[in-house]
Symmetry: C2
Subunit: 358 residues, 2 copies
Amino acid sequence: MLHAVIMAGGSGTRFWPLSRKRVPKQLLNLVGDETMIQQTVNRCDGLIDPSRTWVVTNEEQVSAIREQLPNLPAQNVLVEPAARNTAPCIALAAVHVLKNDPDACMLVMPADHVISTREDFQQGVATAVELVEKQPDRLALIGVPPTFPSTGFGYIEQAEPIPVSSGRAFEVGSFREKPDRSTAQRYLQAGTFFWNCGIFIWKAETILEALRQHEPELIERIEKIASAIGSGHDRQVLEKEFPLCLSISIDYAVLERAQRIAVVQAPFQWDDLGSWQALQRLHGEDENGNTIIALHVGIDTADCVIHSEKNHLIATIGIKNCVIVHTPDATLVADKNDENAIAKLVEQLRQRGLQDYL
Amino acid sequence: MLHAVIMAGGSGTRFWPLSRKRVPKQLLNLVGDETMIQQTVNRCDGLIDPSRTWVVTNEEQVSAIREQLPNLPAQNVLVEPAARNTAPCIALAAVHVLKNDPDACMLVMPADHVISTREDFQQGVATAVELVEKQPDRLALIGVPPTFPSTGFGYIEQAEPIPVSSGRAFEVGSFREKPDRSTAQRYLQAGTFFWNCGIFIWKAETILEALRQHEPELIERIEKIASAIGSGHDRQVLEKEFPLCLSISIDYAVLERAQRIAVVQAPFQWDDLGSWQALQRLHGEDENGNTIIALHVGIDTADCVIHSEKNHLIATIGIKNCVIVHTPDATLVADKNDENAIAKLVEQLRQRGLQDYL
């Protein structure tokens, strides 16, 4: 059976001050009425039952996630005692899934991406599932056809096509690191590259086997955790072993080393919503190039992203190319080109002891 | 006896969103712990008793003013039923003062200027009082020696010196409109010009006589109001006659037409606090040219004025030469050079029916 594994451990700072340590991006409704994790779960509606939907998160977010996803069985929300990147996260989910369903297939995905439509998404997943059900030793990724020469994503180069009954799938030729501008331009023009969007489909047993091969020490610890499930001291073992796991991404740990990787071309629209600027793509711009998600009055204001909660008025005069975000206890005013400095700024808050604003 | 007459009818928009229709600049503590009107009253401490201190304001501010000035007798807060500029305002105060004290001398001043020190202020007032007590037909103004070539103030040119026992006083040579930049530069260099700061000292009887001569119709209406004081229908008469008064400044109505005007050189520091930028002069700037009256964390931020109430964090990245003002229901982000557009912006709020933010 197909299980959804949603990775919701992120606590990025790119949407600060709207996103916070306890309310990161995936718990916000940046696009649409539902939060991003709710959208992620609902995207599987009709394909994967809530009883087969798993979320991996951390202590800080667990209660908010249970609140936002009331239909999920409580035991399906797995808590990492420490952040250890995606390989240990996926391995932890795999052993839980396997306990419930020895023949389980996993659809692994981040909790905070924007995808449309649900139908197209499920179409892409169906192609990947067909592939790994036919060839259970396959590891499948979804690859997104690039729409601009992004230097922020990793790329996957396609090789020979793999026959599937619908959609398109390929052997993976190579993985490419985030490229420079001109390389990205070349990838875009070539038409044979995909963005690696972090959505994976594989048999739980297959990914554990691949990890066993490439990261035996990691998988040894995860197996100790697995043995303790239901023993009464599961938590103790988890808290001892998990933080000792190597912190490594599934891409480095397995995908870039393994054979038999397939890439399925995404038949859906995708956006990782990586910055306030991304909101401009998704919400659109008015005639002055502004994206206004606020009560706003402006004079001579252009190319801005302005966000505030209901009824807080933002007034701007002579402001160009800025991000203005108001929340009840903190307001950000930033040059759009300097968005990357938000992380630095949040680090300053930490250093100055302003914990309440993190 | 000397009476203080504080003109507190202003409802300017220059400090929006901190200043509002009901809480204009004079009711804010922009500089120091006390509000500007409290500072204005306290500046006369030891010189003028609260029983001889009068405030002229409007219906919207009267209760806040009574609250901020609890020592003032309630009847000393005069309410204008309509805004009619300074000449009717001063005439209204004069007739009230005269009812209480037929030989009254008035110290007329705006409620929202910054002056230091109290001692120096009282020294300047003493010089002017000496002058009008010796020559009761005199109208005296305080003139502030210019410190920069301001194009925003009216200027007074000095003529012959008038002997006084302390300080410096002159006949007024001429009044000059707000000059252009090069003229202002010339005035500054000449050393014989003062800024007209709107502080006047004269006998109540003398200013009424001057108004009678230059604006007889205006003074006729004010005298009707005066006759009704204590009659039981004072309010009725005030509300009928006052709005019919010519709307004219005391400068145009009297000062620029009358003889026997004296200017007393201010021996104190003065600032009309006419804009957010003025706060930079008064609060000073840090090493990046920022004036921060807020909890603030900034990266690459310079030449800004940042104001918020306690505990609301303002974070800035790559922001130069801006005014950022946060209040609980509205935030302004404006280019410092475009400050004059605040009035336009407030007008837009009015047109859009956003009354709550005015």
